[in-house]
Each structure stands twice: as C-alpha cells, then as structure tokens.
Amino acid sequence: MKVLNYLIAAITGLIVLLGYFFPGTGISLARSPLLDWAVTLSGVAGLVAILNLVFHVHWKRIQDKHPRRLYSGALIVTFLLTVVAGVFLDPGSAGFQKLVTRVQVPVESTLMAVLAITLVFASLKLLQRQRNWMGFLFFLSVIIFLVLNSGVLAFSTEIPILTNLLSAFHRVPMAGARGMLLGIALGSLATGIRVLIGSEKPYNG
C-alpha cells in the first residue's frame, strides 16, 4: 500500500512538473484532469477537517463532560444552524453572505485590533528580552518603520538630505526580504523534491 501511495505521489508529481517545462505538449492532456482532481480533493480535504473539528473534537468534549463543554455545544449548534441556513438560502445570496460580513468580519477585525494593542504592550519589553546588538537593531527598525508608516516624517521633503536618507532606509528591508524569498523558494524546492523522490512521505499517516 505504501508503495502504491508513493507511486501515485511520484507519478502525478512528475506529470505536473513536466507540464511546467513542456507546455502545450501531450503532457498537458494528462496534467489538466490531475490538477482538477487535486483541486476537488483539496475542497473535500477541507470538509474532512471541518467535520473532524466539529464531530470529533467538540462532540467528544461534550461526551467526556469537559469543563468547557458548553462552549463546544454552542459551537456545534451554531454550525448546524449555519448549515441549515445555507441549505435554505442560496450561498450566493446577500442574506447568507451577511453572516460573514456582519459577524465574522467584525469579530475578527476586533481581534486584530486587540492583537495590535497586545503587540504594542509586548514591545515595551523588547529590549528586556533581547539585549544584544541584533535585538537593538530590531528595536530601532520597528520604531523607525512605525514612524515612517505613520507619515509623520513627510516634512522631511524640505530637507533633501533627510529625504534621501529616509528613502534609502525605506528600501533596506527589500534586500533582506529578497534574500528571505529566495531562501523560501530554495526551501520549497528542496521539500518538493524530497516528496517527489520519496524521502518524505507525509501522506502515509
């Protein structure tokens, strides 16, 4: 069974990979349905994750009389109500979409705002945690970029040297970011190849 799984992963991966380098060839004929199936399977995998969360994790909490089972109950009830509402209302309807725009967005936006406050509070002790030159550089960078983002230094246009200096500093993270992006790409490349050659088999769970 493990060999079969590996063969599926390797062959499908190889077909899709070859499609990158030989577009418009016969490989595309085999590649397109594979991609379609993978897209469908991704959706189904999402469904598996949701059902697992609701009926395995939270339902089990209720059965096990977990101290926070009430919240789990609220979660399951809301889940079922939403599904029922979705079945009766069209998912593309404005009424159903209000669940997202009027409930999900306000709650998550507020959570983000709370996170910002928490981050600022945590940053008060930045230098207490990392008392080395890198920590100090990070600390300075945070402050400078917050000030730059705020636009407070817009008056610097009257001082050309300051404008050039700020403009240059504003671009410095790009070099680091480019290095990181290249690092990420190399990492993805290595991991992808490891999966394709069978060094890593995350599907044999």
């Binding site: 991609l35 993978a38 910002a116 008060l124 945070v142 008056f155």
Partner: protein
C-alpha cells in the same frame, strides 16, 4: 622542430630529447632509433612513457644515456659539475642506490628518505610493519605472500612469476643488485629542484616515502618496468576520499599489480579498483543530524518561546503571581492610550496632521495601469485574506475599486479562501455605490471560491473556464456579460490581488508568470505583507502595489477623490506615532532598569 611538453613537470623540451631536461622523465612522442630486437611489422611500438606505465616494454639502458651525446658541450660541463656535487652529497648521506627504469625525479624523492629507513631491508620493514599494525585482511594477504616466498631476502621477495608472465632478468634479481647494475648515479634531492607544493610539504613526502619503502620496495624490483610510486601534493591527498576515510591504510594494500593498471598506474595512493570488497570502508557521509552553533540554538529557543508563550510560565524567569496584576494594569494603560490616540482626532479636528506629499512609485504605477485599461476588457479581482484584516483591506482597496468602477471596467471576482469572495463583493458594492451609471449586476460576476490554494491557481492558469465554471449563483459564469469574451487568463487586462499574506503574492507571481502573455499583476496588500511583497514589485513581476492605509491615501490624493482612508488618516497617524513613542519609552525604561538592576547586583556581589 616542434617542442614537446613533459607529462610530469609540464615544461617544454626540445622534440629531439628523449627525456625532460628539467625532471629527466621520459618525454612522450620520442621515437628511439630501431633496435635489433625491434618488433616486426605490424606491431606498433609503444611510446616509452606509456610502455613504462603498462610495463610491457622494458626501458633500455641506452635510453637513459642517449641524451648525453646530444647535449652541447656547455651543458655537459654543467652536468658533470652537478654530478660531482651530487656524488659528494651521496657519499655523505650514504645513498648510492638507484631504481633502474624509474624517472629520476622519483628516485630523487627516494633519496630524501632518512638513511636509516632507506637502508632497511624490505623483510625487516615488513616484519616491523606486521608487528606494529593490527592484523587486517590486507596484512594477512601480505604475510601470506611473504610466507609463500619462504621469507627470502629483500631482493628475493619478488614473488613467483605468474604462469605465462614474462619477467625481465632485472626483475628477478635482488633489488640492490639491480640498482648497482644500472650504475646510474642517483641525484640527491635539491630543495630548489622541487616544485613549490612538494617542497612545502616535506614532512608529508618523508613520511610517505618511508612508508613505501618498508613494504613496496621489494615489489618494485619485481615490477621495475612499471612506474614507481609518485607522491601526491597535500591538497590532492586531502580530497582523495579513500585516504580521507582511512588515513592509516596499511601499506600492504598498495600491491604493485594494482597500481600498474589504469591511467593512474604507477602513482601511489590512487583509487584502487580491486579488492575494495576486502575492506570495510566507512563512507564519509554526513550524519543526519543538524549541527548548530550555540547562538543559533539560542535563537531557536527564543523563537520557540515567542510562539509558545505558555512555556514562559514554567521557565526560571517565570512571571510571579504578584507581577500579574501589574502586567494587566500596564496592558490596560497601553490600550487606553492607544484608544485615546485613535479617538482624539475625532474630538479635536484641529489636531495637526502631516499629509504625505511624496507618492510612492508603486501607487502611481497602479493608477497608471488602471488608467490604461482598454474599454470593455475585464479585470480579475482575486482575494485571499483573513476576516481580521478585511477592515484594513477595505480602506486600502476602496480608491482602487472606485477607480475601476468609474472607468466602467467589467469585473470578475474570485477568492482562494472560502469567505474571501463574500467580503470582496461587499467591498465592491460599497465602492460602486457612489458611482452613477455602473450597474453592478451587469458589470460584475462573482466566480466564488477556488479551492486548492496553489494547486487551484495552477489549474486556473491552465484553464480558467474549467477551474471556475460557475458563478456563486451556480449559473454558467462564462456566459455572463462581463466575461463572455474571455477564454484564458491572458484575455484579462489585469489581475488585481487583494491579500494580507506575502505568500499569496508569491503564489500568484509564480503561477501566472509562466503564461506566455501574462496579464498585468497588481496588488492591494495589507501593511503587514508590504515588506515581503515589495521585492516582487521591484523585480517587475508585480506592476503596481497599494499597501495599507497610507497607500490608499496616496491613491486618493493623486485622484483627488476623498475616501475612508482620508477621513481616518489623522487617527491612523496619531495611533502609529503614539505606538512608536510607547515602544521607544518602554525600551529606554527597560534599558535603564535592567542596567540599574545589573549594577546593583554587581555591587552586592
């Protein structure tokens, strides 16, 4: 006559010379005058160096002297003087032996051996060697060979000739005799004559040659028609895998028969192709373990602590119960200050606000691209962001949406996360509400959710119609007015990407970049994604970028159409400035208190 390059020292020599003037090694391509025992017609005589290597043709004694007659008088005089010097040196060092048939530069190397070692017989050397070293299969092999020969004297230790193998008379003679018979004086080693790399590693030369002599010298007498062991430079030795693995390889392994084969024949320490199976070779493969420096480990621990705040509770620097209320108070205090910073501009409209006057290039480019979109050509708006940043992206995207709508551009919406397309539609409805003459139902189609993340994107790039066949109302999307004419992704004038994650920008750049005529990629990104999205703009893979509220403000200022970003800018600026100030003050206080505490502790200690 053309010059000949010496294979050994790489110097140029006259074509008529049989040997290299510098290193005395035989030159390639030299044809000796026909000898009486010359092979008959049809047999191609092998050139001398190759013949020596393969051991099939014996070097003639004359070949070593033939150059002398040809040398000019002045050269002969120099050589004579040099030989006299060498004779003196040889007398003092007690060396008067020479390997017949070996290049002189190798013989010279042998002359550099310590006299005591050089005078040892092969038998003694072998016995010493077998005593000193643990018995290995190779040693056993050497010993058995020794026993087979009946423990004869060093010169006799040549092994019995294999059936059918023709050995020269010299090969069967004792080693010493063969040397003396040759009569060629051995040149002592001159430091100046050595190549730089060789003289620099004299120690290595010494050790190596002494090891060779203990075991390999008797074999040479047998295989005298082959090239003797050479010495490799240190750097070459270092990269040789076998030596790197087992530097203390028993010398018995260097059997002459093996070294006589292949292109590296005659050079000691070459990769041995035979009897490797007798040896247990531990490959120098890197172990599967991550070796990190203490600093890297410390950073990893710090990262782990940051991502797992619960750990800190159990760490030695745990926050005491006493300090918890203080933390909470401080947190509420920070929250109140930030709330005030946000709300104050609403109460006091006269508070000073510094409006940026320089517009980022990426924002100007976005505006330029949208201005240039041909009439009737659709734009694909793709979203993937968390609900938490929907508010920020609503602010950021508002001026861009207004611009698109005011141009009457047909739009197709889609998202690569489940809730994205709903938020996107809501944002667009709000932005288009103020624009007259733009019928949302006729100009906009919502293609809904595309699952699969990056896999979904590649499917979209390959065949957009198959990837997103229906609208959110489950109607055939590609028959609707806005996108009826579009068949591939290239038929869209541009792709406008709304995201809070630089990974999404990366995925879109990677997947759409391989289209032959890719549509223009524009981005409206959250401020948190901006630093990592900027390189894609800089490299030209993303042609325009509007980042955060400040980007939206610049866009509105260029178009001179106010919006939400303009009305909330004062709060935004004030909040950011206060946050920066708080962090700065926190840092200063941390520095002062910790430095003070450290000084206090030191004073106590």
């Amino acid at each position: 006559m053309a010059d000949i390059r010496c294979l050994i020292c790489n110097r140029m020599n006259d074509a008529s010379s049989p040997r290299c003037w510098y290193c005395r090694s035989p030159l390639p391509g030299y044809k000796e005058p026909p000898a009486p025992d010359e092979p008959g017609e049809g047999e191609i005589p092998e050139p001398e160096p190759l013949a020596e290597i393969s051991g099939r043709v014996e070097p003639t004694e004359e070949s070593g002297e033939s150059w002398e007659g040809e040398a000019p008088e002045w050269l002969a005089r120099i050589r004579m003087l040099k030989e006299q010097d060498e004779q003196k040196t040889r007398e003092t060092s007690g060396l008067d032996t020479e390997d017949s048939g070996l290049p002189e530069w190798i013989i010279n190397l042998r002359a550099a051996e310590p006299p005591v070692m050089a005078e040892k017989t092969a038998e003694e050397a072998l016995l010493e060697d077998s005593d000193a070293k643990a018995t290995t299969p190779a040693d056993t092999y050497a010993d058995s060979r020794f026993e087979e020969t009946g423990g004869r004297a060093s010169g006799e230790f040549t092994g019995e000739p294999v059936e059918g193998e023709t050995t020269s008379p010299a090969a069967n003679e004792p080693f010493e005799t063969a040397e003396l018979r040759d009569g060629q004086p051995a040149h002592p080693i001159f430091e100046d004559d050595l190549p730089e790399w060789l003289s620099a590693d004299a120690g290595m030369v010494e050790t190596h040659s002494s090891q060779k002599d203990q075991t390999a010298r008797p074999f040479i007498s047998k295989e005298e028609n082959k090239l003797a062991d050479g010495v490799l430079p240190a750097w070459l030795k270092a990269i040789r895998p076998l030596d790197a693995v087992s530097p203390a390889t028993p010398d018995a392994l260097y059997s002459p028969g093996e070294e006589g084969e292949g292109i590296l024949a005659g050079i000691s320490g070459t990769l041995r192709s035979q009897r490797l199976e007798d040896r247990e070779v531990k490959m120098p493969s890197r172990p599967h373990e991550l070796v990190v420096t203490p600093m890297q480990q410390k950073n990893a621990e710090l990262l782990y602590r940051l991502s797992n705040p619960d750990i800190e509770e159990t760490s030695p620097v745990a926050i005491t119960k006493k300090s918890r209320p203080q933390r909470k108070t401080l947190k509420i205090f920070a929250a109140v200050i930030l709330f005030l910073a946000v709300l104050l501009p609403y109460g006091f409209r006269s508070l000073p606000v510094i409006i940026p006057v320089l517009f980022p290039k990426e924002v100007v480019d976005t505006l330029g691209v949208i201005e240039g979109i041909p009439a009737g050509k659709p734009v694909l708006i793709a979203a993937q962001f968390e609900g938490g940043l929907a508010g920020e992206l609503t602010l950021s995207s508002e001026p861009v949406f207004q611009h698109l709508v005011s141009h009457g551009v047909p739009l197709a919406l889609m998202s690569t996360n489940a809730s994205g397309y709903a938020i996107l539609e809501e944002q667009l409805r709000r932005a288009s509400a103020g624009v007259s003459g733009y019928l949302f139902s006729e100009r906009v189609v919502n293609l809904g959710y595309l699952p699969g993340g990056t896999i979904g994107l590649i499917s979209l790039v390959g065949d957009i119609r198959a990837a997103l066949p229906y609208s959110t109302a489950l109607e055939p999307a590609w028959e609707t007015t806005p996108i009826a004419g579009a068949r591939t992704l290239a038929d869209f004038a541009a792709i406008l990407l709304l995201t809070d994650n630089p990974e999404i920008v990366r995925a879109w750049v990677e997947q759409t970049g391989r289209i032959e005529k890719p549509p223009i990629l524009l981005g409206v990104v959250s401020a948190q994604a901006a630093p990592l999205a900027q390189p894609y703009y800089d490299s030209g893979q993303v042609q325009g970028l509007v980042a955060g509220s400040s980007g939206a403000l610049a866009y509105q200022m260029i178009r001179q159409v106010p919006g939400k970003a303009s009305t909330t800018f004062a709060s935004y600026q004030f909040a950011l400035f206060i946050a920066a100030l708080l962090i700065f003050l926190g840092g200063v206080v941390s520095l002062v208190t910790t430095t003070g505490a450290a000084a206090h502790k030191k004073g106590r200690g």
